[in-house]
């Protein structure tokens, strides 16, 4: 059984709706937040950086996603000192 175009449209529409909500929240929230470069000492610590676990986290996700029924939402590299 192949998906109909309306099934696909409905599925991607759900994702697009969530992305739109996130975008509006982003526009409202992030524009008025400002951490100056000289205040980034703690943000630059590896403990504050998403995705800093790199390969080990990817291998763990590979193992776990094969033993559980769900997938996605894993951390993306970001945050930290903002110096990339």
């Amino acid at each position: 059984m192949r998906p109909s175009s309306s099934d696909r449209l409905a599925a991607w529409r759900g994702l697009a709706r969530a992305a739109a909500v996130a975008l509006v929240a982003l526009a409202i929230a992030s524009g008025c937040v400002m951490v100056r470069p000289e205040e980034r000492e703690f943000l630059a610590d590896p403990a504050m950086t998403f995705g800093a676990e790199g390969t080990a986290a990817a291998q763990e996700e590979h193992v776990i996603s094969n033993r559980e029924g769900s997938y996605g939402g894993s951390a993306v590299t970001g945050g930290g000192c903002g110096c990339n």
Partner: protein, 415 residues
Amino acid sequence: MQLIAQLRALPWRAAIVLGAVLFGLVAPGRAGADNGEFDAYSTLFYEFGGPLEMIVVNPRASLRVDPVDEMSLRVSYDADIVSGASVAVVDAPAAEIDAISSATQLNDFRSVVTGGLELRSDFGAIRGSYSYGFENDYRSHSFTIGARTDLFERNTTLDLSYARGFDLVCNLFQPRNQDPVDRRRLDSSQGCFDDQDADTDALDIDLQTFQGSWTQAWAPIFVTQLTLTGQLVEGFQSNPYRAVWLGRAAAQENHPQVRFRYAAALSGRLWIEPLSGAVQASVRAYRDSWDVRSITAELAYEQSIDGALRLRLRGRYYTQGAAAFFSDDYSLRPRGQYFTGDRELADMETFMAGAHIIWTLTPGTEGSDIGPFQAFRLMLKFDFIHNEFPNFRYGRAAVPNNNSILTTLGLELVF
């Protein structure tokens, strides 16, 4: 012994030669600057309890070189070496013994090679990669593209990626119009992907994955990340080796051909200045078109000890609802046209706790000299996992192999 033989067969020599060549290309010209990184990791997953032990060894070697500041090239090799036992016919009737006693031995070796490129500028980065995976009964081609940008004085990072996968899975050749309840399971991978073999068939699986993330620094000690993932999988998604008892006979499990999957995860990290450590928390919600729903919560604390040493402790809880077509007994309680023997589609809970420790050595640390390298990093990680399957049975027996350990040893060299 089989596992040891498979480990010995790893193409380590090829990886070392490739690494040496790439290192030779960049090392002489840019001494003193970060030119790249080599890392070698290996993960061991051991699931135990009763006769259904499973061992998965996942070694990985990766090399990144930066010919210029604005560009990175990556190559990596991954392997999955699986050895264990699995139940061929789930819920088959037995007078004296349960179905676990009919478990069959499983050995598999999967290899994945990946090549990628990233281009950076002051505004962000774009990246692309290609992976090819192969094993006796599976082939995969995967292309990924992504882009990242920093906004608002780099307090905001947006990242988008799209991946397209073209996979092939081996199955027993069966007429396409055959009734699912008459389909037989694949006994072994012998003859798979052999054009001369008329007993096997190669079936398509198409994957599309879209992911977007928003990382936001809210204060000098607080940062969050929101990640949204959507995935569409079309094609043969059953385990070709597994059959399910349907009352009068067993048939190869029959999953829907299409699966839409969605996940949203929110993570936060808070710096605790008096402790010089960070509290890390995340929650993830997941749902798909097979009506599997799950929630994941994780809490961790990471502490720097004496500069070079870092310790991270964490706990993770996962709960999942069964797929709409899951039944623990299809002869008594059928759930429509689909049937599965996959415990990953049953109700389940996972409890996970563990720690990792990272030791980083840089030139001058404790008077050390690490030659041409900018940094040397050693990582050891250990987790214990316990699963609960309240509704899943092998015959009359509960799942025995519901405890596992996951341990990783890693080495990174920055040059």
